[in-house]
């Protein structure tokens, strides 16, 4: 069975500092990997995804994540955060065995960006 572990429940960081939000997954088959973000009082929205090809994927607002198959990880990074990045971030996985239809989420990491 699939599972997703987000190792940090909260990450406080100062503005313009780098940040890494950690995500590990377990699955016995090939996977699709996602990061979703939830801003206050909004629904979750896709930040970036890995389906195949290059293991490094990027979002339009400067986040990137790297699929590491040997470590079963998909950590999210940003070299310099902004106040507006304050949100909750969810790592998610779906597997090719189920055709990618069932997506499993982690418990979320709250990112607090301080001035």
């Amino acid at each position: 069975a699939q599972s997703v572990t987000q190792l940090d429940s909260q990450v406080p960081v100062f503005e313009e500092a780098p940040v890494e939000l950690r995500c590990n997954y377990s699955s016995s088959v090939s996977v699709y990997l996602f990061w979703y973000v939830q801003y206050p009082n909004q629904g979750l929205q896709l930040l970036l995804k890995y389906l195949s090809g290059s293991t490094l994927v990027e979002s339009i607002n400067g986040f990137e994540a790297e699929f590491n198959k040997s470590q079963t990880s998909f950590h999210l990074r940003k070299p310099s955060v902004h106040i507006s990045d304050t949100a909750e971030y969810f790592c998610a996985v779906s597997d090719r065995y189920t055709g990618g239809f069932k997506t499993i989420f982690g418990a979320g990491t709250r990112l607090f960006v301080k001035a």
Binding site: Y36, N41, Q42, L44, F101, T103, I104, F105, A107, G108
Partner: protein
């Protein structure tokens, strides 16, 4: 184009009462999902519809929960009778194919007293 909408945004009920949550997916999305998040824990999968058929309901907690999607459009999730542990935020999401992104509603917060 309208996104996924959920109603109500917040519901407060007594233990033993019934609540029905509604989700309107994005038009044309055959896949509709219900998830639940309890007090800062993971967003837990409940079930998956393809059009009006239940494709996977392995995450439904027990038979007090009933989901329907008549006509393959909107979906309802009924909890009857509600228990304290049913409190949480219920998210609905929809998507077109299998590798596309999930589009989420803002969630329905259920509080059972």
């Amino acid at each position: 184009e309208a996104g996924v909408t959920q109603f109500p945004s917040h519901s407060v009920i007594e233990k033993g009462q019934t609540v029905t949550l509604r989700c309107d997916p994005i038009s044309g999305h055959d896949n509709l999902y219900w998830y639940r998040r309890v007090m800062g824990k993971e967003i837990k999968f409940l079930l998956h519809f393809v059009k009006e058929s239940k494709q996977d309901e392995s995450g439904m907690p027990n038979n007090r929960f009933l989901a329907e999607r008549t006509g393959g459009t909107y979906s309802t999730l009924k909890v009857q009778p509600a228990e304290l542990e049913d409190s949480g935020v219920y998210f609905c999401a929809s998507k077109e194919g299998n590798t596309g992104e999930l589009f989420f509603g803002e969630g329905s917060r259920l509080t059972v007293l």
